[in-house]
Amino acid sequence: MIEKALKGKPAYWMWLAILGVFITIGAVCYLRQFFYGLGMTGMGRDLSWGLYISQFTFLVGVAAGGLMLVLPYYVHNYKAFGRITILGEFLAISAILMCLMFIMADIGQPLRGLNMMLYPTPNSMLFWDMVVLLGYLSLNIICGWVILTHERKQVKPPKWVYFFVYLSLPFAVSIHTVTAMLYMGLPGRHFWLTAITAPRFLASAFAAGPALIVLACLLMKRVANFDAGKEAINKVTTIIMYAAIINAFFVALEFFVGYYSQIPGHIHSLQYLFFGLEHHGEFYNNLVPFLWAFVLFCAAGLGLLAYGKIKDKLSDGLVGAACALIFLGLYLDKGLGFVLGGLVVTPLHEIVEYYPTANEIGITLGIWATGFFVLTLLYKIAIGVEHEVEG
């Protein structure tokens, strides 16, 4: 099937070439970091996780988001998703690959990475995160590939593969739950020390992941003659709306706990993220525009979808704009705000703001480009098979 990825229109090769440029930039930046040290990043003693870990956290959510397509199709036998479940599985594969690359970019001694397996440590949530991420990656590779090869031969997939399909459902939930547990169980990090982190992660994941898939579907409809079907897109947008609203509800609850209890530790991060924090005469508000953009983007995306659904005018343009807004909004919330907001007040009660360096951003873009490169190849194969079966 791999040969499907080797034939394409000029636009396809152009796209891959553009991604290739970013991958090259990322690789060069990474080599610099590898030989010079993590000091090339904007991270420091008092703010020791940054862009890499926040991207990792967001992308785990994107990977888990595929569940919203797989579950209705396999558990509820919702046939309209038949053409797009494979997109969910392949998105999960590329998202987890990005996650693993971000982890490797973040650790100070990447060559010792295997110590995680040589000295397995069950009391560390990072150990379990590795277990579920590798598990979910394998499950998606197995399920996606087996089901696609059988679709191509137009025979039913073997029974055993359904075991892995159903196993992948709890795994999807577990990857994001365990990722939330990396944060939730740390004493002294007030912003993260809340049980709602995990459900909030899941809610935003179930909006952001499907939103990206809808965007991909709309794009492929234009460039690759692939139609996911109106009913499917309609249903996915409903799922996105519910998930985004639940996420907003959880964020509102965080505000209530902080500002009603008036406990400083619970207020500080929210205050910093949304309004700016004053400390010893200095005013810190780097992330305020991003977090209000999150609020506005999500509200606008939800508004657009609601308008389209009520008036029954869900055009591709409207759905695309709404999904892009929601995806971007949730990225700003979880891909920036959550990690950096939680770190702004250090355990020694100083305020430390974070400025990523150019090298760090180069690596980040390179990893994103690598992920989209893999995603493009996988989607090209999936669509090639569908065309072959139908044509």
Binding site: G44, S48, R112, N115, N123, L348
Partner: protein, 271 residues
Amino acid sequence: MDKQRRKFLKIAGATALAGVSAPAVVKLTSTPSLAASDHGAAAGHGDSHGEEQPTGIRYGMVIDMRKLYGKPELMDKAIEACHSVHNVPHFEDKKNEVKWIWKMPFENVFPDHSVYYSAKIKEENEYFALCNHCDHPPCVRVCPTKATFKMEATGIVAMDYHRCIGCRFCMMGCPYGARSFNWFDAKPNIKKYNPDFSARTRGVVEKCNFCAERLPLGKEPACVEALKDTGAIVFGDLNDPHSELRKILDKEPTIQRKPTLGTKPSIFYIV
């Protein structure tokens, strides 16, 4: 032919997978690998403020700030003693700092304590901050490779610099900001290299080790030794009721950093 190749690939893949995961499975099943299993288990459940049962040695420290007020040069002496013995590099930029023991204002070292209407002496002076060598160390709990661990014989929270992968999860777990990461190569920034103690490689985390390398030689921790004539820092066994440390603790009211977190620090302060 094609079928054979497929079969070979399948077997090769399965073997590789088994090879990679085998050590993990073997280790998990063969050893009681909960690194965080603590000797404090005897102390009972849920009581985060209660005292430990005396089991073995548990090193601790009391810092008598009364003897250091108005004498920041004494504190610098102790810091310098520690950092030179342990080859702690000096970086000008606060971002890249590596430090094992340092001084900071009261509100930073004790952020949970009220600073309303506080005594002038508290505002005018700085306080020592260092690793608390907690009885329930969160850093040990979160480390994915057991590179940081509690020495059962002494209660010291130690580091294996050769196993650390540099994920900095321990720095997230530590509620005291006690840990530093080697963002750059340390060697060019070590003023005078002490050949008796290794320098750390780039990309690993380090922190105060309670001078675990000096204790077996019958020496006290470097900071204690540096302030010996003032008696500002007393080091000893918290589980030994006859130790000088315990005698001070029995007599003087002390405070600890962030006691509500249940980490049970081994450092006590008289302020």
